[in-house]
């Protein structure tokens, strides 16, 4: 799960990056409206956590801009103003959820998972492919009812493939999900993760489509 956090307070930003990282998300951080627009134009995110009061404008403007160009990326607003009218204004501007500061980190993570899930067109909390089940809330996986131990990165790769079972994901797309901008991407790491995953959940679970990428078979 790759998330863009737009927040200008350095301490809170650091907290969100680390906290959402603990919850299995890859976080990209920006502190201004201008940077947020650039980030949204350049990459795809599963969700955006948006502070309303930014040094160079209002988060609502970013939100309005996204919705105006049909960017349906789910957005959670973070704001110090949690009067009902402010919440209504935010939601009516196209936000998917709203959280007033200060908030509970676990609640924020759960809400981000929820809007990201909806963004992928899923209602259920878990990802399923055959007998393989992933639970993003606990970062746990089961195969035929038995728990499978996965590293955080492995979980992220598998989750990216299982969000749309049957769809092919390119290596680049998977890398984008795994790493924020600031992180160095090693050239063969996706292959390494796929290799490890196959030993844990079965060779046939992840199919290599030569020249295109990988896919997880849906219900058979």
């Amino acid at each position: 799960m790759r998330i863009l956090v737009v927040e200008d307070d350095p301490v809170l930003m650091d907290g969100l990056k680390v906290g959402l990282g603990l919850a299995g998300a890859t976080v990209d951080e920006v502190a201004t409206c201008a940077d947020a627009r650039a980030a949204l134009a350049g990459s795809r995110f599963d969700a955006v956590v948006l502070d309303l009061m930014l040094p160079d404008g209002s988060g609502l403007d970013i939100l309005a801009g996204m919705r105006a160009r049909d960017d349906a990326t789910p957005v959670l607003l973070l704001t110090a103003l949690d009067e009902t009218t402010d919440r209504i204004r935010g939601l009516d501007a196209g936000a998917d959820d709203y959280l007033g500061k200060p908030f509970d980190l676990d609640e924020l993570a759960a809400r981000v998972r929820a809007i990201a899930r909806r963004g992928h067109g899923r209602a259920g909390p878990t990802l399923k492919a055959g007998t393989l089940v992933l639970d993003p809330a606990t970062l746990s996986a089961t195969l035929e009812g038995r728990a499978v131990a996965l590293s955080r990165r492995e979980f992220a790769v598998l989750a990216a493939l299982m969000e749309r079972p049957g769809m092919i994901r390119s290596k680049g797309e998977i890398e984008e999900r795994l790493y924020g901008w600031q992180e160095e991407v090693e050239s063969n790491t996706v292959e390494v993760h796929i290799h490890n995953l196959r030993t844990k959940v079965g060779r046939e679970a992840i199919e290599t489509v030569r020249g295109l990428g990988y896919r997880v078979r849906g219900q058979q």
Partner: protein
């Protein structure tokens, strides 16, 4: 008399009545002169008629004609025919026996038996007669009086009707005023929309425009207040959110590095929050203390050296103090001056990107500090002294209160804070200036 309606009513009624009275007076005078003219012409004609009927010297004066039925204007004309030697030859019925006029020909007036007459006399030497035809002036006056009374009668009836009509019309005429008043009275306290002056009568438009101006000001003040509240909420709750998040991370992290990082961030946040609280308290104190004239003065050089010494040093940032500031006595209480200068100094230091140079200089009307930071975008210059306003070039540790405090403290010390971007290079110049009559010596 505060009712516009009553006031207008009385004015209109008085004016109408006065005009009416003038008209009646004018009609009275003009009818009277017209009547005189007509009646004089009749007298003259009647006299000529009688004269033409009188044959030379032989007047068979008829017996007195039987009296006419009473009409109120009976016996208006009387006629006498006198011989030239002064004998009354004949007279009309009701005519007095005494001569109506003197011997002269033409119009004359005379009192006969206590009654004034107007008479026309024709003297005919050939026929040897003097014909006099006369009118009772009293009757003439009555005629005019009756005419005017006929006019006044309806007036007495019409004036109350007219009053009623004026009263009702005034009500209708003033109804736009009531409509506007009703519109404003029906609003709730948050409704600061302008009253539309275009469909209102021209007379109350200035009032409505003034009212709209006031609405605008109130609305702006409220918006400003809302903004300050919003900024304050943001500045207070964001560090709390950061603290809570970092604390939760510290609790949840399984590795020491993450936990230590979270605790370090917690400390940073606590320090910043403590500074924010301190600044809020300073602001509250400044707000509570009115400006009081003071004879105190402080040496600018000594004050600044103390501030620079206390301020946390930043690597690569050098501070230069103009020697002319030594011995420059600044008016105002020491604490207020210290607050002003310290906040300006901290602001300058905070906005230095990496290495740079800060300079405190003496100016003709006070002193100024120059930094080499990013400056302030021109559109934000007027707002940066507002509480919690943090512009585009805010520093990471700023609270948005430093310049607000400097501004308030400067005004308490009788000085003015003026900010401008440096033109010769990047950076901000903050002036603290005293009005010319209080220039520190």
């Amino acid at each position: 008399m505060n009712s516009l309606r009553r006031r207008l009513f009385l004015i209109l009624l008085a004016a109408t009545s006065a005009i009416w009275l003038c008209a009646v007076g004018w009609i009275y005078l003009s009818s009277r002169s017209e009547l005189e003219h007509v009646l004089d012409a009749r007298l003259q004609e009647a006299a000529r008629m009688v004269h033409s009927l009188v044959a030379g010297g032989n007047i068979a004066a008829a017996a007195q004609a039987s009296p006419l039925p009473e009409t109120g204007y009976e016996r208006q004309l009387s006629c006498q025919i006198w011989s030239l030697d002064g004998h009354l030859v004949a007279r009309s019925g009701g005519a007095p026996e005494e001569a109506l006029a003197g011997p002269a020909e033409g119009f004359s007036e005379r009192e006969v038996n206590g009654e004034p007459w107007r008479v026309y006399t024709i003297l005919d030497a050939d026929k040897g007669v003097r014909v006099m035809v006369g009118d009772r002036i009293g009757l003439r006056d009555r005629l005019v009086r009756d005419l005017v009374a006929g006019l006044l009668g309806p007036v007495v009836l019409i004036v109350p009707l007219l009053g009623l009509l004026i009263w009702v019309s005034l009500g209708g005429g003033l109804s736009p005023l009531n409509a506007v008043a009703g519109d404003i009275a029906a609003r709730d306290a948050d409704d600061m929309r302008a009253v539309s002056p275009t469909d209102a009568p021209a007379e109350i438009r200035p009032l409505l425009e003034a009212l709209n101006g006031l609405f605008g000001k109130v609305e702006a003040a409220r918006r400003h207040e809302r903004e300050v509240t919003a900024f304050a909420a943001h500045e207070l709750r964001t560090p709390l959110a950061g603290l809570k998040t970092q604390a939760q991370i510290a609790l949840a992290a399984d590795d020491k590095a993450t936990r230590d990082g979270a605790l370090r961030q917690t400390l940073v946040s606590v320090d910043r929050t403590a500074r924010l609280v301190r600044q809020l308290l300073v602001l509250a104190k400044l707000d509570a203390e009115p400006a009081s004239p003071t004879d105190e003065a402080a040496d600018a050089g000594a004050l600044l050296r103390e501030i620079i010494h206390q301020a946390p040093a930043r690597a690569g940032v050098t501070v230069q103090l103009d020697p002319a500031l030594n011995g420059l006595l600044l008016k105002g209480n020491r604490e207020g001056l210290h607050l002003t200068l310290r906040n300006l100094h901290e602001n300058a230091v905070e906005h230095m990107a990496g290495e740079g140079h800060i300079a405190w200089r003496r100016t003709p009307d006070g002193l100024c500090v120059e930094d080499e930071g990013p400056g302030i975008p021109p559109e934000e210059l007027a707002r940066v002294t507002e509480r919690f306003f943090r512009g585009r070039h805010k520093s990471a540790s700023g609270s948005g209160l430093g310049l607000a405090i400097a501004n308030l403290a400067a005004s308490r010390a009788g000085a003015r804070l003026r900010l401008e971007n440096r033109t010769e290079r990047r950076g901000l110049r903050a002036h603290v200036a005293w009005p010319s009559n209080k220039v520190p010596a």
